[in-house]
């Protein structure tokens, strides 16, 4: 039961032939400044459905910039970015918002939970803009919370939860809308080592169920858990742990 909410997607038999989720075709981003900052140099990258990718790099290297582009929170200033085969460059703001809401789940270092709303309400929020019925949303939110092991804290207010529990609520929120891509920006950055490990296990679980997961970190221990690791340094993205 618990696995079904994570994703309905079957894990492709051969990852090399699975459809691409993220396609960067010379995508790069330069903040105009002054001084102009080339936060992400033009890069080529394909992440296929069901992959588990970690991205490492020192502070200020451009990790968040990359994730913002991948998550449609920001647009590349050059090159093309395709999400699920859709060229995002020519999309209207409305379409970009819709894609964000329906295809991407975000997990942030700072959790970004609404402090006065219960865990269930926080998780439901990811489905408010999707047009699902209220009852279905609440059912999906409960399932997602059970999936992350918080079935006993459904009505808890975030301020009464521990850091690890808060991040699990945030992961449940990202899951509940059934995205095709889970983007995590330093999901364990605010957590101690033990708690970080449980959160990482949860993310690996989701990956085993077929979810495409992309995790940004500057913790090498976390990075090692990825089936595929990318490094980024001074805005240059490279395959493998070349840092």
């Amino acid at each position: 039961m618990t696995g079904t909410t994570a994703t309905a997607v079957d894990r492709p038999a051969d990852e090399a032939t699975a459809p691409p989720v993220i396609e960067m075709r010379g995508a790069g981003l330069t903040y105009p400044g002054p001084p102009a900052v080339a936060a992400l140099k033009p890069c080529e990258l394909t992440v296929r459905k069901g992959e588990f990718v970690t991205i490492v790099g020192p502070s200020g290297s451009g990790k968040s910039t990359f994730l913002n582009i991948a998550g449609l929170l920001d647009s590349p200033t050059e090159g093309q970015y395709l999400l699920d085969g859709i060229d995002t460059g020519s999309l209207s703001d409305a379409d970009r918002s819709a894609l964000r809401g329906r295809r991407i789940g975000f997990v942030f270092q700072a959790f970004h939970l609404l402090p006065h709303r219960t865990a269930v309400e926080n998780v439901t929020l990811s489905m408010v803009y999707g047009g699902a019925h209220r009852k279905d949303r609440i059912a999906a939110a409960r399932d997602a919370l059970v999936r992350v092991g918080l079935g006993h804290r459904l009505e808890a207010i975030p301020t009464t939860l521990s850091g690890g529990e808060r991040q699990r609520v945030a992961i449940a929120r990202a899951l509940a809308a059934r995205p095709s891509l889970l983007l995590c920006d330093e999901p364990t950055g605010n957590l101690d080592t033990a708690t970080a490990a449980t959160v990482m296990e949860l993310l690996e679980d989701l990956h085993r169920d077929g979810m495409t997961v992309l995790i940004i970190t500057h913790d090498p221990a976390v990075a090692r858990r990825g089936a595929r690791t990318l490094a980024i340094r001074d805005g240059v993205l490279t395959e493998g742990r070349a840092a």
Partner: protein, 411 residues
């Protein structure tokens, strides 16, 4: 192929109005005390708006009620011949009653004046000087028509008629209070009273009059009798005319010509004031001042809402970024904050309306008036609150919708 997928593949974001309302109220309830304080300006503004309009309507209906009863059927005609000639003692001819009663719409009409008694002449209940004297009782000369126009209700006996008037009978009619003062308890003993040396038989005691309430404090004698004894009036006479409902204005225009076709300018008819001018007079002075104050309150209230909403937008930048990341469009964020300020304004308007109505009812009860509030006022007031809130939220909500998700999430 890719174009097709793009147009088919993306289902747009939605924000059902029910979610809009629940998200907005949840946003407000995060800080209930602040929300209440913010709404206070609107409460005061809308409250005073309702109170002013309600009190004005209540007072106006009060005036209306008084006028529609009696005053609207009363015309008084003044003798202003003194302004035109020195040779006219009394501008009203002897047959003034008949002349005015011939007019269409007139119920009764006649001449009356206050008699100036000479030195030592006073009203007494006994012929002997000094015995039973009641000083400072005024004597009014009134034609039989004037007496009827005053609308007397007779307790005992009768009022005198035209025969008494034209044949100069020594008869008098007095009010019940006056009768008690003069020691007259019943007419069965055929009591008399004395004015100076003249004896008058009292033929009627009045309980009340509809008009000219001061007649109850006077001894009323027929006009011709008074003229024979004391001569023409020294302070001028007037005519009292009672009309049918709605005829007063027209009668007032006709009376001078009907009574004095030769010199209509000797007479000035005073119709009852038009109730409509009186009502606008009430809403004209103090009411307008209060409406201005209400508008100022509303303005301050809207500035308060604008300020609080702007602060809330700043505080909740992270939430806005999160909502955008979860699929909200800029306009969804705009709608949410606009709804929050609108709800705040509408709530303030509703509370203000109830307070205003309470004030109107309270004041009306204290004055024993009937509280009157136009339904449009009660309906419009919460709407005014809503509009105030929406206008106040316009700028902050626009700012919120312009917040870029990356910047909001970076913090």
């Amino acid at each position: 192929m890719r174009i097709r997928r793009r147009t088919d593949g993306i289902e747009p974001s939605r924000f059902h109005w029910r979610d809009l309302v629940s998200e907005s109220t949840a946003g407000l309830l995060q800080r209930p005390a602040r929300a209440a304080l913010t709404a206070l300006g609107t409460v005061l503004g809308v409250g005073s708006f309702v109170a002013v309009l309600g009190l004005t309507a209540t007072a106006a209906s009060q005036i209306d009620a008084r006028f529609s009863d009696l005053s609207a059927t009363e015309v008084t005609v003044q003798d202003i011949s003194g302004e035109h000639t020195e040779f006219e003692d009394l501008a009203f001819p002897g047959d003034a009653d008949q002349r005015v009663e011939r007019l269409n719409g007139v119920a009764h009409g006649g001449v009356l004046w206050t008699v100036q008694l000479g030195e030592g002449q006073e009203v007494r209940s006994a012929p002997v000087a000094g015995a039973g004297a009641a000083s400072q009782i005024q004597v009014v000369a009134a034609s039989s028509g004037a007496l009827l126009a005053a609308g007397p209700s007779v307790r005992e006996g009768r009022v005198y008629d035209r025969w008494h008037d034209t044949t100069r009978q020594r008869v008098a009619v007095i009010g019940v209070g006056m009768a008690a003062r003069l020691g007259i308890t019943t007419l069965e003993t055929q009591p008399a009273l004395f004015i100076g040396d003249e004896a008058f038989s009292v033929i009627g005691i009045l309980d009340d009059t509809e008009r000219k309430a001061d007649l109850l404090l006077s001894v009323i004698v027929p006009r011709s009798t008074a003229q024979e004894i004391w001569g023409p009036p020294k302070d001028g006479a007037e005519m009292l005319v009672s009309t049918r409902v709605g005829a007063a204005q027209q009668v007032a225009g006709e009376v001078p010509v009907a009574v004095r076709p030769d010199h209509p300018e000797y007479l000035r008819a005073v119709p009852p004031p038009d109730p409509r001018t009186l009502r606008s007079g009430v809403s004209g002075d103090l009411g307008q001042l209060f409406l201005v104050l209400a508008a100022v309150c509303l303005f301050i209230g809207s500035v308060g809402i604008a300020n609080t909403t702007l602060v809330a937008v700043m505080e909740r930048t992270g939430e806005i970024g999160l909502r955008r990341a979860l699929g909200a469009r800029g306009r969804h964020v705009l709608a949410q904050f606009l709804t929050e300020s609108g709800v705040l304004g509408a709530l303030g308007g509703l509370i203000g309306t109830s307070l205003g109505v309470t004030v109107v009812v309270g004041v009306a009860m204290a004055r024993e008036w009937t509280p009157v509030i136009q339904p449009t006022t009660v309906v419009a007031a919460p709407v005014i609150g809503l509009v105030t809130g929406l206008l106040a939220g316009l700028y902050p909500a626009w700012r919120a919708s312009r917040i870029q998700p990356v910047e909001a999430l970076r913090r």
